[in-house]
Symmetry: D2
């Protein structure tokens, strides 16, 4: 076995660290912000100003949303093992499944394929409805009739002139879903998140990486609070209580 | 049981999301970047310009460092369960233990106590040496005699005039450790990270939250790459190979 | 909210613990073995002698298989956080994905549906081949042309007279797969595991629970060894080494 | 690099699997039960009849205890990602921290050192009390004044004649703690579990491996139930509800 480069992302040497072909210490540190660095890590390139703006916007929009199940699970886990912040973060991240945060990945896949194939939104809506499945990116237990975060993302995409075919498709799909069902269904934050990422040239995989990174920040805030004001066991007790 | 506020961080309502007393959609989205939002989430306050600069700097400095054990574990986990990005991220984060990334938390605790108590660095170095324990924040398997990331953080702290008693203590401790051992020992990135956070008024808990968030970004980059160029099983096989 | 029973599995009272309607302390402890208890927990009933025998057999057959990726990931994780046995176990279990241990669940689902619908094995083999997908329960990187564990399970099922329609179907599928491909393909341990569980009346869900529980035992053995003879960092270094 | 044996536990070959020097397929499968196999995996030796009996007893005693925090966290995680049983198990296991299940490891360490050093139980109780710390193995939120599982373990250890110096020390410590505090404090299941394991020759590390393995079985039962009767989101909602 000879010389073999396993990863293109980074390599550490005794006197320097190379990341995506850049000198981490001499070039990146102090010059690029974390959001730009996340873009560089994920895609190999520094972001344009619009890519940076919307990456920031999406990370901010999705990082925190009250005492969600993943925050509850993380706080309960920290209560049981107060020394292991990383264990509690891991427990919380495991709750970022397709029902919750993974929807943005499904949305991105759906949008990418439908736009590339030039599919009729009405047909897509009909198929999803017929299959009896949860339509990715639609419906929200709390935000009705609209998810204000979703609307704000669309608005800013229009304002800054980045709305392209994927955002147009997301809107058309919303109308088609409403027509198919006979009444509107909330388009949640996952759909415009996926759409704007694709319109800005991000790969599909970013559509899940963004909410996972964002929610990690929210989890860390909850765990910092938990260390000062523990409620983890109280949360577990409330959950399991057999009478009100 | 009456009305009870369990968390001060955020609360979601049908038509809005409140985070740290701010309106997420109407105020924060599009105005603050992710780094500023992380600060707001963790501490309840928006950062000063220096706090923002150094939070960015530290997140960038620690997010990625080659094919580290946590990246290897995450890639192996994704290979075994390609649909579960969050499972692979969780597996990687579980490797952010005290030996690796938790050192910054130990450094922060050590610095905070030593500075508050006005302890003699020589005495602290002697005690750590006598206890035969790994000295938190010192030593690195690769970066010798200096960790270039650590030096750059100190340099920028001086340049921007934020170096205070914790950075001064970190430097004094480095000299004391060298004297005690009779030769220099690399001060790794964990120590100046902890020192600059404390000098900027961050709580001790931030000293672990920062590297956990940063490494999540690195993990997501490795997992995006793994989805395109899988090496997870190859890594596992190399690790377990009984002959070279 | 009135009285509400959330789970049928167990409930703890100040002076006793009730599990599946039995008195844990006064009845089960000291009378039933762990394998019988696992059956009671999972299904609500104590096992027949055959159910107990094969549950033991399957747990033993699948618990350990050398330095597998999940064991490697767990040992690397313990090296980074030596105090958190549970974190290392969790990291290892996360590698029990569909590519590795989840195959038994896919096998159980396939067998259950095919037997219930009376489908022609040749047709099923043709479809799987045509779909170009990995056929669940077939193929093994090491065990060729047969997986000795799989053969032993079939043998014991025959010897003890428990082989039923699902085991018959597994064998027929093996022949059909060989015919379809023009050469034999190893039937791995996942397929007879699923088949014998179904023939003994276990639910499909048991087909994944059994390997997860079994592998936890293997992980715990590796982590006990790791605590005495640490190789975690060595494994990570071998995996990431860029030249042989 | 020449031939190197990394682990003594097992090795897989094309036609066989060797575990602790035994032939898995030809010897162990069908002959040993899972509990005996767990002993072999963990210690390298098959258990005596007493070791097998108490390993079964302890695994049964600790596997399940109602809707505990770890079960709640696991069910919430499965609700968010219904395809990932292993992710939900991992989330649950992460809650097996020192406050909950790790206490048995602390108990084993305390007992081993105190018995080896011949320390006066009254002095140990005084020190623990003075340190103001939670005394490992004492106190229980529900089981008062006694933990029936703890009493049953002691009773069976006496009945079967395996009670030795560690069980004697556990009892003496209970009396000393009561004297020191002026009133009895529940000796919970962790203390006799640790004591009987040590008296039977198990290593300290087994004192944590046993509850982790046992709770995995409980978690799997809850997750099987969750797949049939989902309550995960309901549990999360109850936990986070701001008014009763």
């Amino acid at each position: 076995m000879g010389e073999l480069r396993l990863t293109e992302i980074s390599e550490a040497f005794p006197d320097r660290v190379e990341v995506r072909g850049c000198d981490l210490v001499g070039d990146l540190m102090g010059r690029v912000g974390f959001t730009e660095y996340v873009h560089l890590l994920l895609t190999g390139k520094e972001p344009t100003e619009d890519q940076r703006f919307f990456l920031d916007l999406l990370l901010v929009s999705i990082a925190e949303h009250g005492l969600m199940p993943s925050n509850v699970a993380a706080r309960m886990t920290l209560a049981a093992d107060p020394r292991s912040l990383q264990g509690a973060v891991a427990a919380g991240i495991l709750g970022a499944g397709p029902v919750v945060l993974g929807a943005s990945e499904e949305c991105a896949r759906l949008l990418e394929q439908a736009v590339a194939a030039g599919r009729d939104p009405a047909e897509v809506a009909r198929e999803l409805q017929a299959a009896g499945e949860r339509v990715p990116g639609f419906g929200h237990p709390l935000h009705k009739p609209v998810d204000p975060r979703a609307e704000r993302i669309l608005e800013l995409a229009d304002e800054r002139g980045v709305s392209g075919p994927h955002i147009a498709y997301a809107r058309a799909l919303r109308d088609a879903v409403a027509t198919e069902r006979g009444k509107p269904l909330t388009m949640n934050v996952a759909m415009p998140m996926a759409a704007v990422l694709l319109d800005l040239g991000f790969p599909v995989v970013a559509a899940k990486a963004v909410p996972v990174l964002a929610r990690t920040a929210g989890l860390l805030a909850h765990l910092a609070e938990e260390q000062e004001h523990p409620i983890g066991f109280e949360l577990a007790e409330r959950a399991a209580r057999t009478s009100g």
